[in-house]
């Protein structure tokens, strides 16, 4: 557009500015000087998270125009979005991938901020507000997963409610608050809709404002140099000097990288949406359909795995005390290590701590993907006996293979890779156990295995053991 064509736009903006003065209010924030060292690609994760939040708000509003927050209508409205509404599938896909990206980029932001020592004096409050933002975003992730009203949502909610019910004294009240009654019913979804669409986003917007205000007020964390120790007496003065000596205007010098990063993450989300499409809805949320293996979205896979693997006697303690300790520790970080070295090169405990947490969470999440503890309920009719175990078998051994299917041994034991992984695979079992050992194990159980003596006739045991006796490599 030519300079001449911009004339009317300029005069309109000028008219507005004269009266509202918004440009004058924002200008200092844009122009404020920042240390040159912060114009780095390492400093873009915060802005990228914000860009994703805006994307979530926009797509969320569009989805809320169609979504029906009732137990009867929700699933149908999701199907309508997926298959009928123009671009409905695309909106759902962008909102889903956007939520994944937001949790991921926010986590990167948190790790970067921690390793760069940005939680130290005088930015303790910025960190604390950031932890609130982290928790609120996870809250959005959980409630959003519930609004995708399918089997995963239904059972995920059941798990959430049963966790809440373990709280001593107030368990019932918490469940009632969460579900809008003692059970998952009509009120539940309305409640989650209100929390996901009004309550938490409202809190998030306020908190984001506060977070940014704090960053502007105290100044962005300078690039930490090993040996340059933070003390309460000298830090602020030194920061002012650095900004004064070697500062650059935030806009456009440092903001350029932020804007590119925002573009890249949003583009990545849209690319994922176009390539992989929306997630679910999976099966109908019908509590009578128990033949399902619900799974949370990736950000809760680690917790899901942890809960599955905890010894039962530790459950209540770990589930109730664990989150309090973990969240409490996050809040306490700036008070435990509020001064001193900022550079991660001189903070081995901090680096090791991050590594241990990241490795633990990814290992647990990996287990959550593989779900080796989850019984394969459909294996008995769906996982065929491998052909190599059928050929050349006697009629009795073939009957044994049928007993193995029919008594649902493969719910926990795999054969040729098909079946559950709770118990050991039965391939090659004949090389590990004798006939007598097999009979004893089947009849009496042991280890983690229940006793099947009362569920098998002598003929069935004979056939089963005869078949297992042929399972050699």
């Amino acid at each position: 557009m030519s300079a001449r064509g911009l004339g009317p736009v300029r005069s309109t903006l000028g008219w507005l500015e004269e009266r509202a003065g918004l440009g004058g209010a924002i200008a200092p924030a844009l122009d404020h000087p920042v240390p040159r060292s912060t114009a780095s690609w390492w400093y873009v994760f915060g802005s990228a998270t914000l860009a994703l939040f805006v994307l979530q708000v926009v797509t969320g509003i569009c989805l809320a125009l169609v979504y029906v927050p009732s137990a009867e209508g929700a699933y149908q409205s999701l199907l309508y979005l997926n298959f009928q509404a123009p671009f409905g599938w695309f909106l759902r896909a962008v909102h889903f991938w956007g939520s994944n990206a937001m949790v991921a980029v926010m986590t990167l932001h948190m790790i970067q901020v921690f390793l760069w020592g940005a939680h130290k004096y005088p930015r303790e409050l910025t960190w604390i507000v950031g932890v609130f933002l982290f928790l609120c975003t996870l809250g959005m992730a959980f409630t959003g997963q519930i609004l995708r009203w399918d089997q995963d949502a239904y059972w995920g909610l059941g798990i959430g409610a049963s966790i809440a019910s373990r709280a001593p004294g107030v368990g019932d009240a918490l469940v009632s608050l969460l579900l809008g009654g003692p059970i998952i019913a009509g009120r539940t979804l309305s409640r989650f809709f209100a929390v996901h669409v009004f309550l938490v986003p409202g809190i998030l917007i306020g908190m984001i404002g506060l977070h940014i205000w704090l960053v502007l007020r105290i100044g962005i964390n300078e690039w930490p140099m090993p040996g340059r120790v933070v003390t309460r007496e000298t830090y602020r003065q030194r920061y002012e000097e650095e900004v004064h000596k070697d500062g650059v205007s935030f806009f456009p010098y440092a903001a350029r990288k932020d804007m590119v990063a925002c573009g890249v993450v949003v583009l990545a989300v849209v690319l994922c949406a176009v390539l992989f499409g929306p997630f679910g809805p999976h099966g109908v949320p019908d509590p009578t359909l128990i033949d399902t293996a619900p799974k949370p979205d990736f950000y809760f896979l680690a917790l899901y795995a942890l809960f599955a693997l905890l010894p039962p006697w530790t459950e209540t303690v770990v589930i109730l005390v664990g989150p309090v300790l973990a969240i409490g520790a996050l809040f306490l970080v700036p008070f435990i290590a509020g001064t001193g070295e900022k550079s991660w090169k001189r903070r081995p405990v901090a680096v090791l701590g991050v590594l241990v947490i990241v490795l633990t969470v990814t290992t647990l999440a990996g287990l959550g993907v593989a779900v080796p503890w989850s019984p394969q309920m459909e294996a008995w009719t769906a996982a065929a006996t491998p052909v190599r175990y059928v050929k050349g078998r006697t009629p009795l051994e073939l009957q044994g293979a049928l007993v193995l299917q029919n008594k649902q041994c493969r719910t926990c034991h795999s054969l040729g890779g098909g079946g559950g992984r709770r118990g050991p695979a039965l391939d090659g079992i004949a090389t590990r156990q004798t006939r007598d050992q097999l009979i004893r194990q089947v009849l009496q159980g042991g280890g983690n295995m229940p006793a099947y003596g009362k569920n098998l006739s002598p003929a069935e045991v004979n056939a089963l053991v005869a078949f297992m006796g042929t399972l050699r490599p």
Binding site: L271, G277, T394, P395
Partner: protein, 233 residues
């Protein structure tokens, strides 16, 4: 960089309007409730493949992908076996009314699918098929049955069904306790071609069994049933 990002955005949005975008969910990708599934392949894979084999043969249980068996077994009997199961054997009931997971129309899909896919007209032309129904009620004679076994079956299954080089024992009391009379009769008539067992016509070395011989040999097999020692459940 900015221009590249803008162009990429425009391209994505344009793509999202396309029908052929990989991410766009197709209506047939909708997850159905278990009782809504009406595709034979899915129903078979979920409910039958475990025992009858992924392709309908070489499973632990009888091959269904077997034209001779399908020529012998009437569809209404196949349907009844699927729906109500065979008590005392490894065949469970699948009808909702019998505690199983399938609706009546799903069972119809299975019966029709098995027939349409695996039945071959002319599989047994030129031969009179021994009747499917039988077992003890078909008037078999145990003494004659033993002789039939010796001449037609013992070559593989060994003398008196104790097991031979090419086939396992069939007079085993545990085996006989786990199968129905009809299973024995169906197996004698239709064989297990996927596992190398010929049907009632034999493998060419002997004359086909007559209906009476089939009944006799089944009667002999049934007479071999003995209580299996061990604690009863």
């Amino acid at each position: 960089m900015t221009r590249f990002i803008t162009a990429a955005f425009a391209a994505m949005l344009a793509l999202a309007g396309c029908d052929a975008v990989p991410g766009r969910p197709r209506p047939d990708a909708r997850e159905l409730a278990p009782t809504e599934v009406m595709a034979f392949e899915t129903l078979y894979a979920r409910n039958c493949a475990g025992c009858h084999g992924q392709t309908g043969r070489l499973g632990a249980a009888r091959a269904l992908n077997d034209p001779v068996y399908l020529a012998v077994a009437p569809p209404e009997r196949v349907r009844r076996v699927i729906a109500t199961g065979v008590p005392g054997t490894a065949q469970p009931p699948f009808a909702l009314s019998a505690g199983g997971p399938l609706t009546d129309s799903q069972i119809d899909v299975l019966v029709r699918g098995i027939k349409d896919r695996w039945q071959r007209p002319g599989a047994v032309t030129g031969h009179q098929i021994p009747p499917y129904d039988g077992g003890r009620a078909a008037g078999g004679d145990v003494g004659r049955g033993r002789a039939v076994f010796a001449s037609a079956c013992a070559r593989c299954h060994g003398d008196d069904g104790r097991g031979g080089p090419r086939g396992g024992g069939v007079a085993d009391s545990s085996y006989l306790a786990l199968v129905s009379d009809q299973h024995l009769r169906t197996t004698v008539i239709a064989g297990r071609s996927d596992l190398g067992m010929p049907d009632w016509r034999g493998d060419g070395g002997t004359a086909p069994l007559t209906p009476q011989q089939v009944s006799d040999v089944v009667a002999w097999l049934v007479a071999q049933r003995r209580p299996v020692p061990g604690r009863l459940p």
